[in-house]
Amino acid sequence: MDKLVDAKTAVAAIKDGMTIGIGGWGPRRKPMALIRELLRSPVKDLTVVAYGGADVGMLCAAGKVKKLIFAFVSLDFIPLEPWFRVARQQGQIEVSEIDEGMMLLGLRAAAWGVPFIPTALGIGTDVVTYNPDIAMIDSPYDDKQWLAMPALKLDVSLLHVTRADRRGVCQIASPDHYMDDWFARAAKHTIVSCDELVETEFFHSEAVARQVFWERSATHAVVHIPGGAHPSSSAPLHGFDVGHYKAYASSAKAQDFNAYCEQFGVLKDEATYQAAVGGLDAIQQLPLPIY
């Protein structure tokens, strides 16, 4: 089965009002080229589930987000994501703010086809106060109440991986695959962008096959976009772009997202964008962060 498509074709699967999940974590291994493709599309009223970074900030700035399900939105070295702050401080979006682990449980519930997973996470906090739809339930096995974390069922997930083949076998060579496997499993339709497109024989090694975290049946579309995570990192290939994030953050200070988009050709196409940020060579030379 050949799942290779271009970004525009892939992102056309996303319709108004859908719930989308976005892999990665903060400024790390985000499917940013697919997000830019989404910014170019007319799609609106999305519900977004993410361990958020500029993916969430940009979708908020472009008015694509109806509701955000999140635990944090951060660029790490810029702790507070600038465009997410604007959206929140202007009251532009609905939110469901949950614990990081609750999000993982919600994705697992969706992946496993159960309506909820009982947990103590969130009890006694404002997560319960501000999520009136999240129920507390009695247990058949003890006398305590438990929080019933509902399944976070996703229409579409967007992920960025190191390498993939046309059949949707995906390698994440970074130190952490984050919750990308659960985003893939929780979605009806998973779109993956990859830095490198490889032949199936590439995976015929124990070490490489150990870096494949879900089966190809959970990948529905493969898009080949070298540097497609920029400005986020795609370890071990490249780090995140500190200078670019600063420019992005200053556009929020000026409250002018269009200026950011125009400066970097964001709404034109990926080739224009990559040229504007210095080209693929420059992206691939961004140093990895040291923690």
Partner: protein, 270 residues
Amino acid sequence: MQNNEPMTAFSLAELMVCAAAEAFRNDGEVLATGIGLLPRLAASLAMSTFNQDMMMTDSEAWLLSKPNPVSGRKADDAQAFETWMGFSRIFDNVWSGRRHAMVGPSQVDRFGQANISALGGTYQQPKVQMLGVRGFPGNSICHANSFFVPSHNKRVFVEGECDVVASVGYNAARLPRGYQLSDIDIRVAITNLCIMDWRGEGFSPRVISLHPGVTLEEVFDNTGFDLSVAENLATTAAPTAKQLDIIAALDPLNARAKQLPDNPPGIRTA
């Protein structure tokens, strides 16, 4: 041993790091997570000295047998890999309870509830959006937590409840059926003035140690809620020469000197 004699010249940051390290002394084999440079340095000091059973990560995706330095590392420096510890596995550990996190909240209230989510305004439209609740809700119900507060004032230690309660505290009114205050494990708050805990009457907050030269009045004046005073109120121990040597080795670029405004000395000169 002369090495273990308390020193007379050290910074407030170093005093706080040594005090914070004490929080991990009796933890045994738990994952210690210090969020921010000074708490990470504190956990690293504890693991390098009196709690060698402790576990720490490289702050990215690996558990280490020996903590990495907090400054001066280069991309190709070796590290003491022990096992993979990506975020999903961190949660497996969190939910098992075998972890002690030291975090730096923007607000802490009398219940020991903490906030890193948002300040002011309404929930739908906060005046200041911060990070979001992150892992605070889960951490606080699953395992031990301590606070690291570089600036002890009434904006942090608030009069009422936190604007957004991100972590559970000793507040019976918020707990569902079947949970007790003793299920919650808030250890200490290390501030630039003192050390506090929540072991007063009915898990209420109290001062257990004052940093050299700090008065109780100063602590009371900068705290938005009532504090009791521990019977055996201590003066926070000065770092030893050995501790300062280990701290210097763990932080060769002296990043600790840039964490507190003006890098004040550990013993106040009036």
